[in-house]
């Protein structure tokens, strides 16, 4: 997806190489990409390449960031950077030492509706933020193979909501309480994960946040956001592929929300890479940086502890200082 966006929607970028152990060469040919490799070394060793996009399984992210930074390449990396703070801090240091740009794939920060919502909050339209509500439901539960290497619901899925709470509030998460269970697919439970969760957050500015997450909403990808403040509220509802409404004697039927993140956040995926390419060119800041990745992973770890220990958990204060990644 990122490759196709870079080729088709971002003329300022040229995709020279794609590396993957299971690469479809007809696909790279079709996109006009000159180099198709099965190993990362081919890409990282190419002096002509200025920046890399890392979209591997999550357990390889930080290692690849460090190697890319050592090779002097700017990095765009998918979330989560890791499942714990240590590797992220190491990757962050490597990036700072190399003087390269690192952007994390928190795509919602580039979504036009959410950017607009944040603009309204920052402009003071709702006054002081008091309560944030986030609904995050996938259209279909993922295969068990994916669940097993995903890092779990909090690290793979709710991590977006944890970042969104920080993005919408401009504040830090200080306390997390998570309740959850296996209500959709027993196999997810057997894999040691949950498929349904409700997560409460307390933020440093005093505001509260409630996240409800589900691996499967049969009617589509349910993405809703709301910020209540002292002067009012601002909300983003689901986006739909069509505005059609059919009214008959049987009822009034509108279109269900987009069927998945690729369609719902299409504009966001394009915008986040545009921002990255611009940041590489020295034109603006990254949308989300290592600080944001670290804060989200710390909160996800707190959620995991909270669920396991059945108690609210304080979030460790950040220890890394350096280039501030947050642009909001």
């Amino acid at each position: 997806m990122h490759t196709e966006i870079l080729v088709r929607a971002i003329p300022e970028a040229r995709v020279k190489a794609v590396a993957s152990p299971h690469l479809d060469r007809s696909w790279t040919r079709c996109l006009g990409i000159p180099v198709a490799a099965t190993d990362s070394a081919t890409v990282l060793g190419d002096p002509e390449i200025e920046a890399v996009v890392i979209a591997t399984p999550s357990d390889r992210h930080c290692e690849l960031i460090e190697r890319a930074a050592a090779a002097g390449k700017h990095v765009f990396c998918e979330k989560p950077l890791a499942f714990e703070a240590g590797p992220i801090e190491a990757a962050h240091r490597a990036v700072l030492e190399a003087g390269v740009v690192l952007q994390v794939g928190f795509n919602r920060r580039s979504d036009p509706s959410l950017v607009d919502l944040v603009g309204a909050v920052r402009a003071g339209l709702v006054g002081d933020v008091q309560t944030i509500r986030i609904t995050n439901r996938d259209p279909k539960a993922p295969p068990i193979d994916f669940v097993k290497r995903s890092g779990g619901l909090f690290f793979d899925f709710v991590i977006h909501d944890l970042d969104t709470a920080r993005f919408l509030s401009g504040s830090e998460i200080v306390e997390v309480y998570a309740a959850g269970g296996v209500l959709i697919d027993d196999a997810i439970g057997e894999a040691g994960d949950i498929d349904t969760a409700v997560v409460s957050l307390r933020l440093a500015n005093g505001a509260l946040t409630i996240i409800d997450a589900s691996r499967q909403a049969v009617y589509g990808y349910d993405q809703r956001f709301e910020v209540l403040g002292s002067a009012g509220s601002v909300a983003v509802d689901n986006l739909r592929p069509s505005a059609r409404v059919v009214s008959t004697s049987g009822g009034v039927v509108g279109c269900t929300p987009y069927g998945g993140f690729v369609d719902r956040y299409r504009d966001a995926f394009i915008a986040e890479l545009r921002a990255f390419v611009a940041a590489v060119a020295g034109d603006g800041a990254v949308v989300a940086g290592a600080d944001d990745a670290l804060a989200a992973v710390r909160a996800a770890a707190a959620a995991r502890s909270s669920l396991a220990e059945r108690r609210p958990v304080r979030v460790e204060a950040p220890t890394v200082t350096g280039a501030k990644g947050t642009s909001s």
């Binding site: 008091q130 349904t196 009617y219 108690r311």
Partner: protein
């Protein structure tokens, strides 16, 4: 029993509302309103007797049923006295703030063999009743997540907050009952997080004005309740039940369906201002249902047990917030 004769105990805001609604009902006669603190100068209308003494109502053999609309501490003793006098009882929520006291009252009602309905009016709201109907019809499948937004338009005076029993027993109690009503499931555990973000005086009074409560239901379904004592745009009352086959969602009621579009945006009117406006229909429907139960000798839709459970859940939520941990809900 063709005409049911009713006495009303308590002539405050809700007592007057109920009485005025009763006057429009066929086959219901309001005989007496009693309140020790009201002079009845401009209310009720002619034809209704008044008294300062509840006993005046309870000893009247002609009265079949009473509505208890007096302050909360009087609910349990008046319910017991009315039951002992053989009168059916409609009691405003909560029956009491002490579960032990509620249990004694429910025992007294059982012994007397009269009907008791508790004033959880929202169950009779046509919109929420429709959501429940969708759940019963299986439209959402197995319930996974219930979301309730309940925000008042304006923070109450601190004097009210002090005697309210706290946000969980005063405000969230309706939402706890709504979760039980919508799902038909029992609450087994709650975790509550609260904050004082609207009025520091509410904090000084020992309460919070903003709260989020996570509820675990029997069988594992989850519910989230979000409360605010003040949403400046109006009374924000939304529910959603999400499950394996889909979701059923109820948005806010507005006074009209008009959208005015201009270069500045698309504007609709705010939600109905507060509970008297928003739940007008439910206040009538709950009393009609109460009288139907009396006539048909059926159990009320909102039982004494429902009244007890909502208090047990509210107590657990208050304790959860105070002790910063999830709390199991005592079962009745």
């Amino acid at each position: 029993m063709s005409t049911i004769t009713v006495g009303v105990l308590g002539a405050g805001r809700i007592g007057r509302l109920h009485t005025d609604n009763l006057l429009r009902m066929p086959d219901v006669r309001v005989k007496t309103v009693a309140d020790p603190y009201v002079d009845f100068a401009d209310w009720p209308p002619d034809g209704i007797a008044t008294s300062a003494e509840p006993e005046f109502v309870l000893s009247d053999d002609e009265i079949d049923a009473v509505l208890i609309c007096s302050p909360t501490p009087t609910h349990a003793p008046l319910t017991e006295a009315a039951a002992a006098a053989g009168k059916h009882v409609f009691c405003e929520k909560p029956i009491d703030l002490d579960p032990g006291r509620i249990r004694r009252t429910l025992d007294a009602v059982d012994r007397a063999g009269v009907k008791l309905q508790v004033g959880f009016n929202r169950r009779f709201d046509p919109t929420f009743a429709r959501v429940r109907q969708a759940v019963v019809a299986g439209d959402v499948g197995e319930v996974h997540i219930v979301k309730i937004t309940s925000r008042d338009p304006q923070a109450p005076p601190v004097s009210y907050v002090r005697s309210s029993g706290g946000i969980f027993l005063d405000m969230t109690i309706h939402d706890f009952d709504m979760v039980r009503f919508l799902t038909g499931l029992e609450v087994v555990e709650v975790f509550a997080m609260g904050a004082v973000l609207i009025d520091p005086a509410i904090g000084d009074a020992g309460d919070v004005d903003t709260a989020i409560t996570t509820v675990t239901m029997a069988g594992g379904a989850l519910a989230v309740i979000e409360n605010s004592r003040q949403a400046v745009y109006g009374y924000d009352q939304r529910v959603e039940v999400f499950g394996s086959s889909g979701s059923a969602e109820a948005g806010n009621e507005t006074p009209n369906r008009v959208a005015v579009s201009s270069a500045a945006g698309v504007r609709t009117d705010n939600p109905l201002y507060f509970f008297l406006e928003r739940y007008q229909a439910s206040f009538v429907a709950e009393l009609e249902a109460f009288f139907t139960c009396i006539r048909d000798d059926r159990e009320p839709l909102v039982s004494g047990r429902d009244g007890l459970m909502s208090v047990l859940v509210g107590k657990a939520a208050a304790r959860s917030m105070a002790e910063s941990r999830p709390v199991r809900v005592e079962q009745p």
